[in-house]
Symmetry: C2
DNA sequence: CGGAATCTTGAGCGGCTTCAAAACCTGTGG
DNA sequence: CCACAGGTTTTGAAGCCGCTCAAGATTCCG
């Protein structure tokens, strides 16, 4: 469990899209209204269908947001990173259920607002709700695109997309390329492909020196060449 | 183009989810701020990527909301009905692009709010933004479920779902069952199945007296039996 | 009636999935 | 230090579902 060299400065100011457009006087007030909670992997943070009574922002760590099919398989909707929020439904006056289940991938620190608090904040700072709407629309676009890929792209293209996307959102810069911490199984779920197919695709790429694999990790060497036949 | 007997009363009060929680004093004000526009089929109302500067509510008619794949095929995201709204991004202070393209399926009357007006209304009636958030979260859930079906259900199950869903949202009650106005091609797109497969599935159902087909229409007789083998 | 749009039907195939089994890593405890 | 047990990854062989393509039948409408 050694932690690889990270190029990003350790103390970069965490950018939270949910706080966009709010000023330096307002954000601290909002943060102060939050509780802090830490989760150990693989702890479940929220469950699909449960009434949405808590809003979360990730400060450190990462969280898998997924849904479960009837036959028990998990579909990974998104791997959430620091600065991301989930539980937007908490802003609604009449609570609905969470859309998916969230699980800590590693030790994760979060800010948490209870429903009542979130409602008050929403009233005081309507921009929060606007930002939640913005994020939700963004997710709709993302899922529509993913759907599109599933219908009209090959497994290889989907894996390439999922991997490079992960790389840009959570990759470590290393001399040889960008390294991503992900298991084949999770990558498969993100790319809507099965486990074995991912293994074969990564295997082919490794032979062409496009990536290097090790357990739970992929080092991306030449993202461009992934789609070359 | 005869119009079939509709059981629903002609003058049922149009329920608009976007106006939920707003009072009888407020809704007329909001409506009064809108322009009215009518579109003839198959007119394009908004285009994907265009900056979202107009919010629409359908009063009469119906609208297909879809995205287009790289290879030019349309993926029908939703057939919108009276009371439904689209163009929520108009509420945002910094406009983003529309997520998809909207096309009138038949002659369609709409209410329209321009960006500036929508922004003012959002400030005066924050509930509007909350409702837009609610609807967006609902869409996310819908697309997640659709994605799930695509990954883990058969073509037949998906067509069954798409057809019954259409039936409940836009079906006409007839003595023999519920009739849906939809072309095979559109049903195929909604169910994420190809044209020919839909034809075969409907053909099989017709032989089992589960549905009756005619051009551009499907009469659903026994929704339960659709999934029987 | 003719032409365009819609729908049907068949044959063939191919990309993934499924299933089974083996190889491989990694941390643990003796 | 080694061996073992767990999770993870690989590989092969087989099969199938739904797609593609081509052609024809049907319906609708001017």
């Amino acid at each position: 469990m050694h932690s690889p060299v990270t190029i990003c400065p350790v103390t970069k100011p965490l950018s939270v899209a949910l706080f966009k457009g709010l000023g330096n006087h307002e954000i601290p007030v909002i943060r102060a209204a939050a509780a802090k909670r830490t989760f150990e992997a693989p702890q479940i943070i929220i469950r699909a269908e449960e009434p949405a009574v808590r809003l979360f922002v990730i400060e450190v760590g990462s969280v898998d947001y997924y849904i479960v099919t009837n036959d028990g398989r998990e579909i990974l909707l998104r791997r959430l990173m620091p600065g991301n929020a989930f539980g937007f439904a908490t802003f609604l006056s009449e609570p609905i259920g969470y859309l998916g289940t969230a699980r800590a991938v590693r030790k994760t620190q979060t800010l948490v607002w209870e429903h009542r608090v979130a409602r008050q904040l929403a009233e005081t700072y309507p921009r929060l709700v606007e930002n939640a709407l913005h994020a939700s629309l963004h997710y709709i676009a993302m899922y529509a695109k993913r759907h599109m890929r599933l219908v009209s792209n090959t497994a290889q293209e989907r894996v390439a997309y999922a991997l490079t996307n992960l790389g840009s959102r959570s990759g470590h810069m290393l001399p040889g390329g960008v390294e991503v911490d992900i298991k084949n199984e999770d990558l498969a779920s993100l790319a809507d492909v099965n486990l074995f197919t991912v293994s074969r695709i990564l295997g082919a790429w490794e032979r062409q020196k496009v990536v290097s694999k090790s357990r739970g990790k992929v080092l991306i060497r030449c993202p461009e060449k992934m789609l070359a036949a």
